[in-house]
Amino acid sequence: MSSAETTSESAAGAAEHHGPLDQFSIQRWVEIDLGGFDASFTNSALMMVIAVVVVFLLMTLGMGGRRMVPGRLQSVVELLYELVAKMLGDIVGGRAAKRFFPFVFSLFTFLLFGNLLGLIPYSFTFTSHIIVTITFALVVFVGVTILAIIIHKHKFLTFFLPPGVPMWMAPLLVPIEIVSYIARPISLAVRLFANMMAGHSILHVFGGFVFALSFFGFLPFAFIIALYGLEILVAVLQAYVFAILTCLYIRDAIFLHHE
C-alpha cells in the first residue's frame, strides 16, 4: 500500500475502513518536516500524546489530595506505583531497583494506556505497530547491554558461557547464547505488536460478521463482547509482560548469570 493510496483513502473519509487491517493505517494529520525528517503528526502520535496526558493527569489528579486514606483515584495510582515497585524490588532488588524505577514505571504505564486506549472504538493502538514496539525493545536491549558492559567490562562476555559448562561445549553453546540474546528484543517487540494486532483484527472481522448474518448477527456480537473482555486482559497482561521482561533483562545485566 503506497502513501498516495493512504492519503486518497483518508480524503474519502477516515471512518470508511474495509479490510480488517485498514484500522492500523497511519494517517498524517499535520505534515511536519524537520530538515528532511518526516515528523508528521499522525493518528498514532495523537494517541501517544493522549496516553501521556492520561498518565500524567492520573498521577497528578490522583495524588492531588495526598490523603492518608486514599480515595478511588489515589488507590489506582498507589496500586500502579506499588505494582512496579514490587516487580522491580523482587526481580532486581536493592539500589538498582530504585534507579530504574522511573523508567520501568513510565514504560509500563505508557504501554498499558496505549493498549487500553486503543480498545476504545474509533481510536488507534500505537502498540499495534512493530516499529513502535521494536523501538522500545531496542531501547531496553541496547540500554541493558551498555549497562552490563559498564558494570562488568570484559567479563560481560562470560554471560554467553554459563558457569560450570565444560569447555568443549563452548563452540556449541556460545552461538546459541548469542542468538538467544539477540532474539530478546525481537521476541519482546513481536509479542506485544502481534498480540495487539491480532486482537484488533479479530474484533474487526467478527464486527463484519454481525452485519453479514443479519438476524443471526447476535452470535458474533456476543462473541465480540466476550473477546473484548479478553482483549482488555491481553492489553494489561502484555504491558505487564513487557515491563517484567525489562526487569529481568536489567537483572541479567547487573548480576549476569550468577546469583
Binding site: 497511519i26 498521577m59 497528578t60 498507589e78
Partner: protein, 159 residues
C-alpha cells in the same frame, strides 16, 4: 499491511521518542517522588500509630497492674479491719460477761450472807425461846427458876 509501510516509520519513531521522553521526565521529576513521599509518610504514620498504640497498651497494662495492687491492698485492709473489729467485739463481749458474772456473784454472795444472817437470827431466837421455855417449865415443875445462864447451857447441851 500498514505496519510495513516504511515511510510511516519516521513520524512514529519521532513522536514515540518525544512523548515517551516527556512522560519519563514528568514521572521522574515530579509525579513519582510525590507518590513515594505520600506512601513513605503513610508508612511513617502507621509506624508512629503502632508505636503509640504499643505505648498506650503498656500504659493500660500498668494501670491494670496498679488497679489490681490497690484492689489487693484494699482487700487486705478490709480483712484486717474486719479481724480487728471482730477482736474488739469479742473483747467487749468478754468484758461485759465478766462484769455481769462478777455482779451476779456479788449478788449471790450478799443473798447468801443475808440468808445466813436470817438463819442465825432464827436459830438464836429458837435458843432463846427454848431457854425461856426450859426456865418456865422448870419453874412450873419444881418451883425453882433456873438462872438464865443455866438455861442457856442446858439448851446448848452442856451441863
Amino acid at each position: 499491511m500498514p505496519q510495513l509501510v516504511i515511510p510511516d516509520y519516521a513520524p512514529q519513531i519521532f513522536w514515540l521518542v518525544v512523548t515517551f521522553v516527556i512522560l519519563l521526565a514528568l514521572m521522574w521529576s515530579f509525579a513519582l517522588p510525590r507518590v513515594g513521599r505520600v506512601l513513605e509518610q503513610r508508612q511513617k504514620h502507621i509506624d508512629d500509630d503502632l508505636s503509640e498504640a504499643e505505648k498506650f497498651k503498656q500504659g493500660a497494662e500498668e494501670a491494670i497492674k496498679a488497679y489490681e495492687a490497690s484492689l489487693a491492698e484494699a482487700r487486705a485492709k478490709a480483712h484486717q479491719l474486719l479481724a480487728e473489729t471482730q477482736a474488739k467485739l469479742d473483747q467487749q463481749a468478754a468484758e461485759q460477761r465478766a462484769r455481769l458474772d462478777a455482779e451476779l456473784a456479788e449478788k449471790q454472795a450478799s443473798a447468801e450472807s443475808r440468808i445466813r444472817e436470817a438463819r442465825q437470827q432464827a436459830l438464836s431466837s429458837v435458843r432463846e425461846v427454848a431457854a425461856e421455855v426450859a426456865r418456865a417449865a422448870t419453874d412450873r415443875l419444881i418451883g425453882v427458876e433456873p438462872s438464865q445462864d443455866a438455861a442457856n447451857a442446858a439448851v446448848d447441851g452442856k451441863g
